[in-house]
Subunit: 188 residues, 2 copies
DNA sequence: GTCTATACGGCGATAGAC
DNA sequence: GTCTATCGCCGTATAGAC
């Protein structure tokens, strides 16, 4: 296992933070290098082009996504509850990277859209496995998507409105789960 | 009522279409002017700066939002069903503008975030009025937000997966509405 | 591995003709 | 009201020193 240099990681951290907090346009090579504490030349030694920098962040996103999906699979309260619970914005590495990826995806960086799509599919597979009923599974996915869309909003602000009443939200997820069972039983 | 020139509208149309289909970075003054069939100088006669162009689109968004909210208020199947039904991406003026506004919001154009927040609040007010129970109202808002987040994805592609089974989705909305009634009755 | 200096292109905006 | 021409800035990328 080749250990990538520390500078590489610091540059990716800086890039993700800038994307998240100031947007794609502000995440210039100059700004990223400055935030990481290296020169532009230093940055371009590690990542030959800006595209390579973006692709490296996409790789990191997929790694973090795999970790998250594994935690979701083995969550004590089940994948659905884990999914909704963790869709509120925190300052975890996963959430910061996810918000950054949304910016990249919107800037038409194809690998970013691919990575987000892949993670989304992993989530959907686990939820469908637990719920069985497709339209209920989709409904729960959408609730999580909705919560993540707040994480995608500009600014540092954590909005207490969205997902503020997480207990109430999880109660509705239970209602939907029960409804799925009933709908499945009805059809035999 | 002063009727704004046709060229102004054509420029806003071009700007919105470019934002939606190619992203914020591609929506340069050159590109917008070309798409609208005028020169860059012509554009800058109508909108003195790029900021003014963006703000004009935000105004248009608020106008379309007011129209949409009015339709939602008087929808025969109720505000919630209308909201979820119409949260799938179409090619209506509202949806094209909405997708464009998300791009602007992510590019940290403050008036765009403000306009989206305002429309969101209008929606929430109507849903809360119909549902009464706050956590169910929030759940339904999130389902719509989730659907809209697909509209925010890059590319022209209409994804059949999300909101493809609209009947099933509306069935779950009914389940949630019934659950809200039950929860309210329980508390007296 | 990291730096400075520089080339190059593109974007927003101004000036002024028609 | 719409055009062309041009300026100045900034972002990406290269060259080459240390």
């Amino acid at each position: 296992m080749p250990r990538p240099p520390v500078a590489r990681d610091k540059l990716l951290d800086a890039y993700a933070a800038l994307l998240r907090r100031e947007g794609e346009r502000a995440a210039t090579l100059d700004a990223v290098a400055a935030k990481a504490g290296v020169s532009k030349g230093g940055l371009l030694y590690h990542f030959g082009t800006k595209e390579a920098l973006a692709e490296a962040l996409c790789e990191r996103m997929l790694d973090l996504g795999r970790e998250d999906v594994e935690k979701m699979r083995t969550a004590p309260d089940g994948p659905c509850a884990y999914y909704v619970r963790t869709s509120v914005n925190t300052k975890s590495a996963f959430d910061v990277t996810y918000a950054a990826m949304i910016r990249l995806s919107q800037a038409y960086v194809a690998p970013a859209s691919d990575a987000l799509g892949q993670i989304h599919r992993w989530w959907m597979d686990l939820i469908l496995e637990e719920i069985q009923e497709p339209s209920v599974a989709e409904t729960i996915m959408l609730i999580g998507d909705g919560l993540y869309s707040y994480a995608a909003l500009p600014g540092e602000l954590d909005r207490p409105e969205a997902g503020g009443d997480m207990d109430g939200l999880l109660r509705q997820v239970e209602v939907l789960k029960a409804s799925a069972k009933a709908q499945l039983a009805e059809r035999g």
